[in-house]
Structures are given as structure tokens and as C-alpha cells.
Chain length 152, copies 2
């Protein structure tokens, strides 16, 4: 949450938000995936070693949620103005995410468009990424955030 | 989980899997979203009534996870052969999901391709949907599942 609400007009193409960092623990990966996405390589260290991943990796959905939370907590979205999203253009799980890796989150504004038919809302197209300590992007999501305008 | 593992060659274009159903409770929506996606319309019934949604709705990420779990539990994926996914072609949150609505999950196989360079794996392109009691699709995800072949 930001101190002052950020309206659609306040987002600028090219603007970069560094929204925080997160390192998954093995316990966190196992607990989440056991509930939602119980692939052996997400829920059992021993079984994971026998797979092509060679060890435990986070569920891609878990990674997506951590990014979502960073977008809230890291100042990209304001609770007062964010109305959600109709979905994604592109979601990529580019590399396995392993326990202990510190992932840094960044959001870049691609474009901002105020709706002609509904001038109280704008579409902030953005690309959110998580980058590992080797500088590799592990997760990338391009989507439209629907954000209230000052006219809203 | 299926009784017998399903390999890439076992998926057929046009094949339909009815993978189960789920109705979100208000408490479930609030608990999940408070942790991951705290928009007012996901975490507070009173605040949600003041928004354009007119009431509490599930986080789209929560909806996506319920679909993922259905794909595991409903027999579309076999834990022995499923290797995950590189991401999505298309993810759409088409309509708000409200507490108590029974959502039915379905997965349709679009195409199956065995990798030429890595014949031990195949790409099962599929579209997964959740449909509400009015027959409206509320969520749609098109993605490639990476599945082991019998050669794997």
C-alpha cells in the first residue's frame, strides 16, 4: 500500500518499481504445494532429487502469488485505486525456483490507457519479474492492471 | 491422481475431462486473499459491497489454484508423468466468482506434440475452464502441460 493512492494517470510508461524480495524456504514450498499443486518435485525433497529438476522447486503458482503480494506491498498497487485484472497476456515460468534463492521483484510500466467508454478507469499494462541471485529472470508476467482515474 | 499413469501418447485432441466442482465459501475467499491478494473486494464483505463488484469475489489467483488442484485430483494429470508447465498462452478471469456458486471444472485437450529433440517428453496443449451455475465460463486457462512419454 502506498501512502497516497496512485491513480491511473500517476503511472508513467517506462516507470520502474522495485517491489521487494523473497526467498522461499523448503518448508514453505512443501506446505503450499501439498495443498494446491502436489507434484513430487514440489512436496518431497527425496522424490524431487530423482526428477529432472534434481531437487525441490517452488510451484509456479506459489511464485506467482509471491509476486502478487509484492505488487501490493511494494507500492505498485494502491488498495484504494486497484480494481483487479481481466487476466494475462503472458505468464512465463522461465527457470526453476529453489529454496533459499533471494528473488528480487520488479514491475515496469509498459503503457497507460484511459478507457474512452469508462473514463473513471485506466489500463496500466505492466511486466512484473522475479530475478534470482545469478541475475536470471525466473518468472515474468505481463498483464493489465485496472486502476481508477482521478475522474473515478 | 489416476489409477494408471497417463502418458503424453494417452492424451487425444478433443478429449474432455470433467475434473470436479468447487463452491468457494466467503471465509475461504477472505482467508486466502488476506494472505496473498488483499484487495478490499476479496477480504471484507462490507467494503466489497461499496465497490463495482457489489460484494465479495474470489481472488483470480485463488480461482486459478482451485482449477490447478482439480487438474490433479480430477484425473487430468498423473503425478507419475506430469513435469509441470513453462507458462501460459492465455489466462482469463472472465467473470467475478462469488461465494456459494458451484463451479464445474473441465479440461479439453487441444493438441499433443511429442518433442523431437527430447522424445521422452510431450506437450499437451489444453484449455481448462470453470463454469458457473448460469453456464458462464468464469475462468479459462490455455497452457502446455509437459508430460512424460512411454519412451521417457
Amino acid at each position: 500500500m502506498t501512502a497516497t493512492p496512485r491513480y491511473a494517470e500517476d503511472y508513467l510508461p517506462g516507470q520502474v518499481f522495485n517491489v521487494g524480495s523473497h526467498a522461499f524456504s523448503a518448508a514453505e514450498i512443501i506446505a503450499f504445494s501439498s495443498e494446491w499443486d502436489p507434484h513430487p518435485f514440489h512436496i518431497n525433497e527425496e522424490a524431487a532429487r530423482q526428477t529432472m529438476f534434481g531437487g525441490l522447486i517452488a510451484s509456479g503458482w506459489h511464485t506467482a502469488l509471491v509476486m502478487m503480494r509484492m505488487m501490493h506491498q511494494g507500492g505498485f498497487l494502491s488498495l484504494e485505486t486497484s480494481i483487479g485484472s481481466p487476466g494475462h497476456e503472458e505468464l512465463k515460468w522461465l527457470r526453476p525456483v529453489r529454496p533459499g534463492e533471494l528473488l528480487r521483484g520488479q514491475v515496469v510500466v509498459n503503457s497507460v490507457r484511459i478507457s474512452k467508454s469508462r473514463p473513471e478507469m485506466g489500463f496500466v499494462n505492466n511486466t512484473a519479474t522475479l530475478t534470482n541471485p545469478s541475475g536470471e529472470v525466473v518468472y515474468s508476467l505481463t498483464s493489465n492492471a485496472i486502476i481508477k482515474t482521478r475522474a473515478g
